[in-house]
Amino acid sequence: MSSDFMALLTIMATFWLAMFVIFVMLNRGIWVFTDVSKSMSMFMLEKALGPAVDFVEGRKGSGAKTWIMHGALWLVPSSFFTFSGLWVAHDPTALNSLSSWGYSPSSEELILAGNLTALHGAVAMLLIGAGMHIVPKLGGTNLASERNAALMSFVWTLSVAIMMVGAHSPQLLGIKVLFVGTMIQSLVVVAVIVNQLLTASSRTRKMPLPAWLIIIGLVSYPVALSVVLISGEIETGLGQWALVRMVGGAFFFMQVAGVSLYAASIGTGNQLWSRSLSAVILMGAIFTLNPLGDNTGSIAAGLLGLEQGILEASNTDVIAGSFLMALAAIPIIALSSNILVTMRGDDVFVENPDYPGMPEINLGGLMLIPLGIGALFVQTDSITSTNELAGISGTIFLMVSWLLMIPLSLGPALAIFPEVSGRSLLSNIRSRWAFWMMAGGAFSGLLMTLMADFSDMALLEIDSESNLDGISKEIRVIGSVLFYGTVIGSIMHCLNIISGTFRGSISGADQPTSSTSIGQESFKLTSGTTVRKILASGAGLDTEVVPTLQTDKPGSKTEL
C-alpha cells in the first residue's frame, strides 16, 4: 500500500523536478555546451537529412503551413471513423459487406481509430503547426529550420496512418503496429522540439507566456514518458494511467492553452487579459493531473506495445490522485476565463466575431469548464474502482476531443492561417457554415449518445441482462446521424483552406472582416474606443489618429 502511494507521488515529483531543471536550462543555457549543441542540432535538422532536404524549398511559413494543412486533412478520416464507430455501435452488421475485402471493424476499433487520428493526427498537427508560427513571431525571430519542419510533417502523417492501421490490427506479422507508429512519432517530436528550442535560443526579445506554454508543452512529452519508464511503473495500470494524465495535461493542454490565448488576442485585436492567469495555467498544468482524456491507461499501453495493467489504487492513491485532479480545475478555469474575457474585451459580445477561428475558440473556451468537471467525475469514479460512470466515459472522451481539443486547435490554426500562408481563407461565410456543421453535429450527436449511455446504465443497474434494443438504441441512431454534421463540416473546412491557399485574398491587402482599418501610419477613428484597444491593434505612439465618419469597409455609408 505504501509503495503504491510512493509510486504515484514519486512519478509526479520526478516529473516536476525534471521540468524545473529543463526550464532553468532553457533560460540559462547548458554552460559551455550551448554553442556546440546549437550548431550540432542545426546540422542534424538539415544537413544530416541528406538529399531529402532538397525536396522542400524552406520558404518562410512553409513549415507551419504544411503542418496545418495536414492537421486539417486528418479531420476528415478522424470524424468519419468516429461517425462509423457510433453507427456500428447500434448496427453491428452495417459494414459486413466489407468483410469480402478482409475489413470487419468493430465499434471499439473504429472509435479507437477515430480517437487516435483526431488527437495524434488533427489536434497534434494543428497545434505543432500553429506553434511553429507563434514561437518565432513572439520571439522576434524566424523558425530555425523551415525545411525540416515541412519534411517532418510528412513523417508524422505516416506515423498517424500506421496508428490508424494499428487501431484495427494491433499486431501484423508479429509486429506491434501501434508501437511502430509511436516510435516514428517520437522521432518527429524530438526534431520538432529541437527546431523550436533553436528558434527560442535566437529570440530577440522577451517571449510572452503563450510561447513558453507551447515550448514547455512540447518538451513535456518525452519527459513524461522518460519519467514513467525510469520509475519502473510503465507496465502497471497506475503508471499507464499517470502517463495518460501527464501527456494529456502537459503536451496537449499546454499547447492548446498557448495557441488559443495567442489566437484569441490577435483575432479580436484585444490584448491578452491576464498574464497572471497565463502563469497559473503554465504552473498548474505541470503540477496537477489533468482529468481530460481517457479514464484508463489503455491508450498508453497500446501505443507502447504493452499489456494494459489493472488500475489498482490504494486509499492513498485515490486521495493523492483525486486531490491532484481536483487542483487541475484551477488551470482549466484560468484558461477558460482568460480566453473568454480576452475575446470579449469590455462587454459580453465577442469582438471581431467574423474573423476566422473565433467561433471555434469561443466554443472551446465555453466547453472547458463543463467538460473539465464531467471528466473529473469520470476519472475519480475510475480511480476509486467504483466504475459507476464507466458507461459514459467513452462519450465524455469523445466530447473532450470534438468539443474542446479540436475547436481550440482548429480555431487558432484558422486565425493564424492568413499570417502563415500570406492568403486569407477563401470565404469567411463558408468557414462559419463549416463551424456550425462541425460544432452542431458534434454537440447534438454526442449529447444524444450520452443520453443513450445513461439509459443503458440505468437499465443495466436494474437488470444486468436487460435488453438494450429499446429507446436507447433509437437515440443512438439519432446521435450517430447528427454526428455526420461533423464529417461535413470537416470536409468544408478542408475545401475552404485548400482553396484559400491558392485563391484567397492576399493577407494584409484586403481585410474585409476587420472591424476597423488600422495601419501603422494612420488609425481611422470611426467610433468611441479606448487607448488600450488602439495600441493593442498595432498602432504606435507615432500613429496618426484620424477621426472620420466613414470607413473603407464595403457597403458602409459615404459622407457627401
Partner: protein, 92 residues
C-alpha cells in the same frame, strides 16, 4: 526537298472553344460500350462479366444499412477535396 534547305516548323495551335458536336462522339462511345456489354451477354450466356462480376458481391449488402448513403457522401467529399487540390494547383 532540296538538300540543305531549312525546314520550317509550324506552330502548335490549340483552340480554346469546344466544338458543338464533340458530345456526339462521347455519346457514340457510351452507346458502343453498352452495346458490347449486351452483346457479351448474348454471345456468352451464363458467363460472368470479367472483373465487374467479382466486385459486385461487395455491393450486395449495400442497401442493408443506411450507413452506405453516408459513406457515399464521404466519398463525394473526399474526391471534392482531391479535385480541388488538383484543379487549384494546375489552374492558371
Amino acid at each position: 526537298m532540296e538538300e540543305g534547305a531549312s525546314i520550317e516548323i509550324g506552330e502548335f495551335i490549340q483552340g480554346e472553344g469546344e466544338p458543338a458536336t464533340s458530345w456526339l462522339f462521347l455519346v457514340l462511345g457510351f452507346v458502343s460500350s453498352i452495346t458490347f456489354l449486351v452483346l457479351y451477354g448474348i454471345l456468352y450466356p451464363g458467363n460472368d462479366l470479367p472483373v465487374i462480376s467479382s466486385m459486385l458481391p461487395m455491393f450486395e449488402g449495400v442497401f442493408d444499412s443506411g450507413i452506405w448513403f453516408f459513406i457515399l457522401g464521404l466519398m463525394v467529399g473526399v474526391f471534392a477535396i482531391l479535385g480541388t487540390m488538383l484543379s487549384e494547383a494546375t489552374s492558371e
